[in-house]
Amino acid sequence: MPTSSELAVVATNLGKRYRLGESIRHDVARDWLADSAAQLLRRRRTASTRSAPSELWALRGVEFEIVRGDVVGVIGRNGAGKSTLLKILTRVTRPTIGSLRGWGRVGSLLELGTGFHPELTGRENVFLSGAVLGMRRAEIVRKFDRIVEFSGIEHMLDTPVKRYSSGMYVRLGFSVAAHLEPDILVLDEVLAVGDAPFQARCLELVRRLSHEGTTVLLVSHNLNTVTSFCRSGLLLEQGRVTAQGAVSEVARTYTRSLEAAAGQTLDERRDRAGEGRVRVLSAEARGAGGPGSALETGEPAGFGFEVSSSLPGLQCSFTVYDIAGTAVTYFDSAETSPQDVPFDTEIGSSPGSVSCELDELLLLPGRYRLNVALYLDGQLQDHVEAAAFFSVARGTIRGRQVHSGQARGGLQIPHLWRFEHETARHGSAGVR
């Protein structure tokens, strides 16, 4: 049992209830008056006829302790309550019941450029954003040069940020947030923005902060990022903590629960993202024998997705993950090849199906899952995690037997071995 000086965050019976459609229903005073009047009348007649407002417990009975200096990955499907938990931790919202206790300053990299005003210059925005994030004026003055240097936008410092490229905007925003030197740092998918060098910089900074004793909470859909980066994991499912402990354990529990949920038909899944003009109805991986057949390494294979409508501009992409949650490979219809059959989606809005055919499956034997996303003209329409699970059986790649070995990666690339004798090479040189 850690003492309070070793703790960073403690949640006690934490719960958060949202009234569904609250903001919409009460948007207009007339409706509110009508509602109140109706409720008043109803209450006068019989109290029991009052319908309970539809509500949603985003978090319920959440209990956990996070030790100071730990790097914790918060894992869970869309809508599991991860964002709500972070909002409570950053005090943006308050719980409906229970409490959360924390020690030290909380800094978040949830949204970069918080508090920026487009009309103000970079210099002015450093001060504004710094103050909004919780720094004192003197502290910002002291750190100003470091913030600017780290952002790498010295030359644009006196230009209004509305003239910045999105990359520069994010870099400056990140730099301010990074210099907050929080005791508890909260990251939410922030590593998904920016280019590769920027991401590397983010990770480097987070590593350094964590090394100095900052407690880090990382929320990510990417199980791979979480497992490679965090020491502990916290699994949220439908607003409850269902696992906490070493990150590898928690990741395994998560994968198992995803697989259990795969029994559900995709229609019933509510944990999806995107605009929804087109949805994935079903997802399937099939072997050489067509639908329903088993997949085998080295043999032809296919991935099929039924979609709810055939709107123009449809793109489909999916990522294959191994059982540990590491992304193995990625397929994207937006990157076209001359051999592709172009999507015939100009016709109408009837349902259709998308398929992706492989001549030779290079996945090693084992268990896999895939996440699928649909886009219309680049806009995300649907994203389903763990839309399908499949096993790959042992087989041969170009005559070579492959073995299960997911600890050593998930792919085998066709190759040839060769051995040459030193003497032979010398000999041939000598003949010359």
Binding site: S4, D27, R91, V92, P95, G104, E124, E181
Partner: protein, 285 residues
């Protein structure tokens, strides 16, 4: 980069609980506001900078607005309708009365929409939310003092009898401010839930304008109605402000008492209502 961060062994703890209520809650909130005064200054500075950044005549607007309004009122009410301001010119009396009024009108306009406009901030970081409707008052005050300078010059030219009563100006300015902050907090909090407020505010401000002795002297109101009239605190604020600068009839003590009480009640209930709704702003907005 070399880091010099040294972490204190004893970190300050914080607790996020269900909504705070009662006297204890209010005391805690007040302490947070006092702790965040630097942020309030930053937000006020942001509003000021943004307001004058791309405007070519800048603070001149603050003078031009009441001048043009006063000119229009002088033409239609002073000359054509024949209203009289007593010992000073109708134009000067109206211009002077417009100064505290502009503070109120601008304050109510910007405060009522402020939280909805600032929802980006509200849904991302925590700080006492009441800073948001308070910040626009910096702009209102700067505008006021710009126009006030012009008023002083005009008064000095028009009536060399600029008296010691001018010392009363801050008192009536405070009365106007207290009223506006109270109304602004009410409307800002209501606007989060009911966007109707945004539509209603211009009408409300206009009605309020006609209930305030700006374009006409309060002597138009029958004597026996004066105390009831003063339920609008701006009646006393404007009359007092005008009397302090231009001299004129003494204020009725009863009327002043009514105005001050109403203004105080508006402030207390406005801030109280804002605090009651503060904790759920991020969920509802």
């Amino acid at each position: 980069m070399i880091s010099t961060a040294v972490r204190e062994p004893e970190l300050r703890s914080f607790t996020v609980e269900t909504r705070r209520s009662g006297i204890g809650g209010s005391a805690e909130r007040l302490r947070e506001v006092v702790d965040s005064r630097e942020l309030l200054a930053f937000l006020a500075w942001r509003d000021l900078t943004v307001r004058y950044k791309q405007s070519s005549i800048g603070v001149l607007w603050a003078v031009l607005q009441p001048l043009l309004l006063a000119a229009a009122f002088t033409l239609f009410f002073g000359k054509l309708a024949g209203l009289d301001a007593g010992n000073v010119s109708y134009a000067l009396a109206t211009f002077v009365a417009l100064l505290p009024w502009q503070l109120v009108a601008f304050g109510v306009f910007s405060a009522s929409g402020s939280v909805v406009r600032g929802q980006d901030l509200v849904t991302r970081v925590y700080f006492p939310r009441i800073l948001i409707p308070l910040a626009p008052f910096a702009v209102a005050l700067v505008d006021f003092f710009a126009a006030f300078t012009v008023a002083l010059v005009w008064v000095a030219i028009a009536s060399p009898s600029l008296a010691l009563t001018i010392a009363w100006v801050p008192a009536f300015l405070l009365l106007a401010l207290v009223t506006t902050v109270g109304v602004g907090c009410w409307l800002a909090a209501l606007n989060v839930r009911f966007r109707d407020v945004q539509v209603a505010v211009p009408l409300l401000v206009q009605l309020w304008f006609f209930c305030t002795p700006i374009a006409y002297p309060s002597s138009l109101v029958p004597e026996e109605w004066r105390v009831a009239y003063a339920v609008n605190p701006m009646v006393t604020a404007v009359d007092g402000f005008r009397a302090a600068l231009l001299g004129g009839p003494h204020l009725q003590l009863q009327a002043v008492a009514v105005s001050v009480s109403v203004a105080g009640a508006l402030l207390l209930t406005g801030v109280g209502f804002f605090w009651r709704t503060e904790d759920t702003i991020a969920d509802v907005v």
